[in-house]
Symmetry: C2
Subunit: 337 residues, 2 copies
């Protein structure tokens, strides 16, 4: 049943030229004469020739394939990120190998080995929590170009695309302070990633700058159920917070759910602000004030960085940091007055 592949040789025979010439046509080389090119292209169309990229890569070492590793696919932040990556890669006639590390460094290693075996040209990596810091060095030793995105394990030595979370957190805190909510808690996550550290650092710095009061830091599982359960803990903080800034919108949505279950009205009784501005921010009740990070834009930036790196492996490392934007809705509470 397996249909045999149409090869360069067959096309060549049919078109009355050599295999090498057909190869040149496939690669759009300017060396072939126009009439030969036309003839060959016609035959290729007739026979439904499809170039075998694997065989090509074997010889010339470019597979036009890049690997992307994300820590999960359920959070739509990563999905939009992926969509951005995919768009650029598609435009550039590259194919994306997608894998999900589930935030497990061992799985991530597995995936990288498989990617290597498949001869990917490069990798966009959102490192799993707990990734050993020497991974980028190892990958360099493998000769596998890499761009880090969304999370960063060796700042400075490799290309990185992300958002300015410190600034994002600042925007959120400033907004809350402007609304008169000065005792602010932070709902964080357990997984140790640069994203977490950055947001926590931003929180501390923003408190200092605005003179707001740190009402405490609570950790939850990175699921909305986890966040809902943590509502009790938030409410039990010694200095009862006037607002809670959440690691991301998933947590914020879950927290609002938990608050409501506890009989509180998010936005009125307690301000809630998320980060990421996922589509769901608009769908929660009350609609969630959040800080937009443009994940698709980050994906685009990451893809561009990788393209650049592939074109010029020795270019100096570059960082693309996108600016966040505060989106005010109702959950942060009404204007103070």
């Amino acid at each position: 049943m397996q249909r045999k592949r149409v090869t360069l040789d067959e096309v060549a025979r049919m078109a009355g030229v050599s295999r090498a010439t057909v190869s040149l046509v496939v690669r759009k080389s300017p060396l072939v004469a126009d009439h030969t090119r036309e003839k060959v292209e016609q035959v290729m169309a007739e026979l439904d020739y499809v170039r075998d990229i694997g065989a090509a890569r074997l010889r010339n070492n470019s597979s036009r394939t890049v690997g992307v590793i994300v820590p999960n696919l359920v959070n739509s932040f990563f999905t939009e990120f992926l969509a951005g990556v995919e768009r650029v890669m598609g435009e550039d006639d590259r194919v994306v190998l997608l894998a999900n590390s589930q935030d497990d460094p061992r799985r991530q290693d597995d995936i990288l080995q498989r990617f290597r075996g498949h001869g990917v040209d490069g990798v966009i990596l959102c490192p799993a929590a707990g990734t050993p810091p020497d991974l980028p060095a190892r990958m360099r030793r493998w000769g596998l170009p890499m761009v880090q995105s969304l999370r960063e394990i060796d700042r400075g030595a490799t290309d990185y695309a992300g958002a300015d979370y410190i600034e994002g957190v600042r925007l959120a805190v400033q907004h809350l302070v402007r609304l008169g909510r000065r005792r602010i808690a932070f709902l964080s996550v357990g997984a140790r990633t640069s994203a977490r550290e950055e947001r926590l650092a931003g929180f501390a710095r923003a408190l200092a700058e605005t003179g707001a009061e740190d009402a405490g830091i609570v950790e939850a599982d990175l699921t909305w159920e986890g966040a809902a359960r943590s509502a009790a803990e938030v409410l039990a903080l010694q200095s009862r917070p006037e607002a809670v800034l959440c690691f991301n919108d998933v947590l914020a949505a879950g927290l609002m759910l938990g608050l409501r279950r506890a009989g509180l009205e998010p936005g009125r009784d307690l301000g809630v602000v998320g980060l990421d501005d996922l589509p769901l921010a608009e769908l929660t009740y009350p609609p969630l004030t959040s800080v937009a990070m443009d994940p698709a834009g980050i994906g685009v930036a990451a893809a561009r960085l990788l393209a650049r790196r592939l074109a010029d492996p020795d270019a100096p490392p570059e960082r693309a940091i996108l600016a966040p934007r505060l989106v005010i809705r109702d959950s942060s509470g009404p204007e103070a007055g």
Copy 2:
């Protein structure tokens, strides 16, 4: 900078055996003597040998790679589906090539050509709206094994994994009728897919079975904004509905938003039921009554079907239809009484 690949030959030389023997070790053949195997494995570890799957495929025609095409990545239904596919493929030591057709048949064709070029072993396809019905036949001619999932363009001739949407719609309608809401509208989408037809057919059938009244069918863009805008249209239906059944949860969430903007309280003034039971169903306000379709389970089923098909290309086509489950929350309204 490009590090040279470690090849079978190098391992062979280092281990003092032939290339062929090393190849046997790599493929875990029982033919090699234990002491040779150990020696070779040790050398492979030392040299950090990685098998070149492209080169292998060139010879033996199996790339251990499958392509998956989904029409979008923003709807978490597809994401969970993907997660299911990925899980099974990973267990089976296969790699997933992911692509997003954006519901555009031309893009979908492009992607398929690229997949062919990469020598994927098979494809899991969620066909874009407007896919020409002869696509499966073409793919058969290419010798490219395929499993359809979530949407179906040539019922019966190829493997298919999906959910029983007719039954799902029935559950939803029965539930509404039980609550005393008998004038029911359907909020549908524009894109023509089997998923749409099936849900509409299920709606008609369920109305007939329960004796409920068709309050009309409204079409919206498949985004929550689109659904929110369509609220006005729903409210303007000549026979004002007591409940609205929505094509999926994204529409349902958007509709609730629109209703609320119009000053109505979803669940009290108008019952709303979604389909899919996405995670966001629990986060909306009021929490959304929906019909769970287990997308991850469908992904698992699709992957299994493809694995089976690859193992036995001539097996008769099979269909895996998962049963839906009604999840009652608040948006459908209180018990009639």
